[in-house]
């Protein structure tokens, strides 16, 4: 017993362990603790506020009967649509920033990063003013061209637009890094060996940019999956995303166990998708470490 205690103390006195203590404590209290509490609350009887009651699966069964799957469906669909649209918008910009624009790439980086300093909600309300009936866009079109575009706000495309707008940097910057790591000689070599531009893209550029694409895709997917401001502000009551349901369960409905169940399911869902994706695409192999 004495020996074990001594060994533990000497392990604790190592500089690496000592240095890691503050961060570990912080993560334990700020990250792992709340997660465990949410997990625990998901097994407590509905509309109760104590963690020390008899566990029940009632909340899990009510998720199915209360048709929350519709919210899950919308969150997944909108997140997937956002990722796909972002990829097609960001790839050409990222390619330009990594290989073509030279010193102008820095300016573009700043221009794209600066809006991040302003609260997401304020930026979204700005778009409300633009898309609103008789708002900036609609009003201008009426005044200049005489036709109206009044039905734009509070639609599903408006939500997707908001998601794409807000999460653009999170797709763009990983792509820039991914593309800039591809040596130009590899593409020259492929072309020299007879490959057309499309074949160079398909055989060399795309596979080698895959780590950046994966990281950008997963970041934006997870962020969109957990988003609620876009659907509330730009979507009105058109669709309810799952994060919206979780928020109402915790606040308006005062049903912590219900909110916890939905949170646990959302975490499990996004975790599974990420793990499956990483399994299918072997990043080490792509980068050539294996």
């Amino acid at each position: 017993m004495q020996g074990q205690a001594n060994r533990f103390l000497s392990w604790l006195r190592q500089p690496g362990v000592l240095n890691a203590v503050p961060a570990s404590l912080f993560l334990l209290i700020g990250f792992a603790g709340p997660l465990l509490m949410v997990f625990g609350y998901s097994f407590m009887p509905p509309k109760t506020f104590s963690l020390f009651q008899e566990p029940t699966l009632a909340n899990y069964s009510s998720v199915v009967s209360d048709s929350y799957y519709i919210s899950f469906f919308w969150s997944l669909t909108l997140a997937a649509a956002t990722v796909v649209i972002l990829f097609f918008i960001c790839y050409p910009i990222a390619y330009g920033m990594a290989k073509v624009f030279g010193k102008w790439a820095n300016l573009i980086t700043v221009l794209i990063a600066v809006p991040l300093l302003i609260s997401e909600n304020i930026r979204l309300f700005g778009w409300v003013l633009v898309l609103l009936k008789n708002g900036i866009l609609d009003g201008s079109l009426q005044a200049v061209f005489g036709f109206s575009a009044s039905g734009m706000l509070y639609t599903v495309p408006a939500i997707v637009f908001g998601l794409v707008y807000v999460y653009l940097p999170f797709m763009l910057f990983p792509l820039v890094i991914g593309i800039s790591m591809i040596p130009d000689t590899l593409k020259e070599a492929a072309s020299d060996l007879g490959a057309s531009r499309w074949e160079v893209f398909r055989e060399v550029e795309l596979p080698l940019a895959m780590p950046g694409i994966m990281i950008g895709g997963i970041l934006t997917f997870i962020l969109s999956l957990g988003s609620l401001a876009e659907s509330k502000i730009l979507g009105g009551q058109t669709v309810v995303m799952i994060a919206d349901d979780i928020e109402s369960a915790f606040t308006f409905a005062q049903n912590w166990p219900k909110g916890s169940v939905l949170s646990v399911l959302l975490i499990a869902l996004s975790g599974t998708i990420v793990i499956l994706l990483f399994r299918r695409i072997d990043l080490d192999r792509i980068i050539g470490r294996r």
Binding site: E188, A189, A190, A195, R285, R289
Partner: protein, 358 residues
């Protein structure tokens, strides 16, 4: 070699300008089919630009590039029957050894089993184990990667293979081995090889002919022996490594005078109108001790350094007048066995005096 008859690759006044800078300056060059031609030059001499023009990665700003009588200038790299082994090899890290070698075949639409057959054939030809087919390219050593890059280029079956200093990153022994292997591959395949390097020594080992480049121009073309024995100017002569160089001026028929010390030396022939220039004597041409006594050109001096280099010994000698530093090499089995501080006589034959103008 008759240069016009065997014309395979032909360059006429090929020029490449980047703004005001002329990287390749009106180069005329004819390369014959099956030849191993090497362009040698220091960095910045335009040799890399030159090879990029030839494979189609850059377009010349002037002149014509013809291959088998067909003008290549406007043909993009992927449509040219030429192929290059890059300095960094440019192997695809996300593909296996086999997939790398098969790449050009895949692009041209060869069936998978035929591709694999050819890839395994090439692995054998390049002395790589056939089970390397599915190995990752980054698991291979430097020499193996070199061979994979060459196999990939050979799979393309180009009319001409270009090499952009692919051996420069390897250690000395491996480089020597691969130089000889490359020469073997050249003979086995009968293809035209165009190689660029900054090392004349490397060029001498492999090439049928060598072109020396400087400031975007080819200053001398010839067989390795011709360039070694008759460098056309001081640049070419000094490019060949450590040589003894004396600044001399004409002093009568086939005689020159060292400007610093006033000593006179015999040369085999003096170019018409020669007044001033450099007298080049290779270290291995200079005899030391007894064997130097009867030679027509002699200098007295003191040994101040000796280096044993295995099969040969190198001496540094300071002449009596103090104005000349000599580098002398002798083979191990020659009689002289001097040490630092010994007074010695150096001598060389008239035909070993190489005189170049400025």
């Amino acid at each position: 070699m008759d240069e016009t008859q065997g014309a395979f690759l032909e360059l006429r006044k090929v020029t490449k300008k980047f703004g005001n800078f002329t990287a390749v300056d009106e180069v005329d060059l004819v390369i014959a089919e099956g030849e191993f031609f090497t362009l040698v030059g220091p960095s910045g001499s335009g040799k890399t630009t030159m090879i990029r023009l030839l494979v189609g990665m850059d377009q010349p700003t002037g002149g014509d590039i013809n291959l088998k009588g067909v003008r290549l200038n406007d043909v993009p790299a992927n449509k040219r029957p030429t192929c290059m082994v890059f300095q960094d090899l440019a192997l695809f890290p996300h593909k296996s050894v086999g997939e790398n070698i098969e790449f050009p075949l895949k692009i041209s639409g060869v069936a998978p089993d035929k591709r694999r057959q050819r890839a395994e054939q090439l692995l054998k030809q390049l002395r790589l184990p056939v089970d390397y087919y599915s190995k990752g390219v980054n698991q291979c050593s430097g020499g193996e990667r070199q061979r994979i890059a060459l196999a990939r280029a050979l799979a393309f079956d180009p009319d001409i293979l270009f090499f952009d200093e692919p051996l420069s990153a390897l250690d000395f022994r491996l480089r020597k081995t691969l130089e000889k292997e490359l020469k073997d591959i050249h003979r086995e395949t009968g293809k035209t090889f165009v190689y660029i390097t900054h090392s004349l020594e490397e060029a001498m080992v492999m090439s049928d002919r060598i072109g020396i480049m400087r400031d975007g121009k080819i200053v001398q073309i010839g067989t390795p022996a011709a360039i070694y024995n008759d460098p056309i100017n001081r640049f070419v002569a000094q490019f060949m490594g450590e040589v003894n160089t004396l600044e001399v001026e004409s002093a009568g028929k086939n005689t020159v005078q060292d400007i610093a010390s006033g000593a006179r030396f015999k040369v085999r022939a003096m170019p018409d109108g020669f007044t001033k220039g450099a007298l080049i004597i290779r270290p291995e041409s200079v005899k030391i001790g007894q064997s130097a006594a009867k030679l027509p050109n002699r200098v007295k001096g003191t040994v101040y350094n000796d280096y044993a280099l295995g099969s040969r010994v190198q001496y540094q000698v300071r002449s009596e007048t103090g104005d000349m530093q000599w580098l002398v090499e002798r083979l191990q089995d020659e009689p002289f066995d001097g040490k630092a501080g010994d007074k010695v006589t150096l001598g060389w034959q008239t035909e070993d005096s190489i005189l170049v103008g400025d």
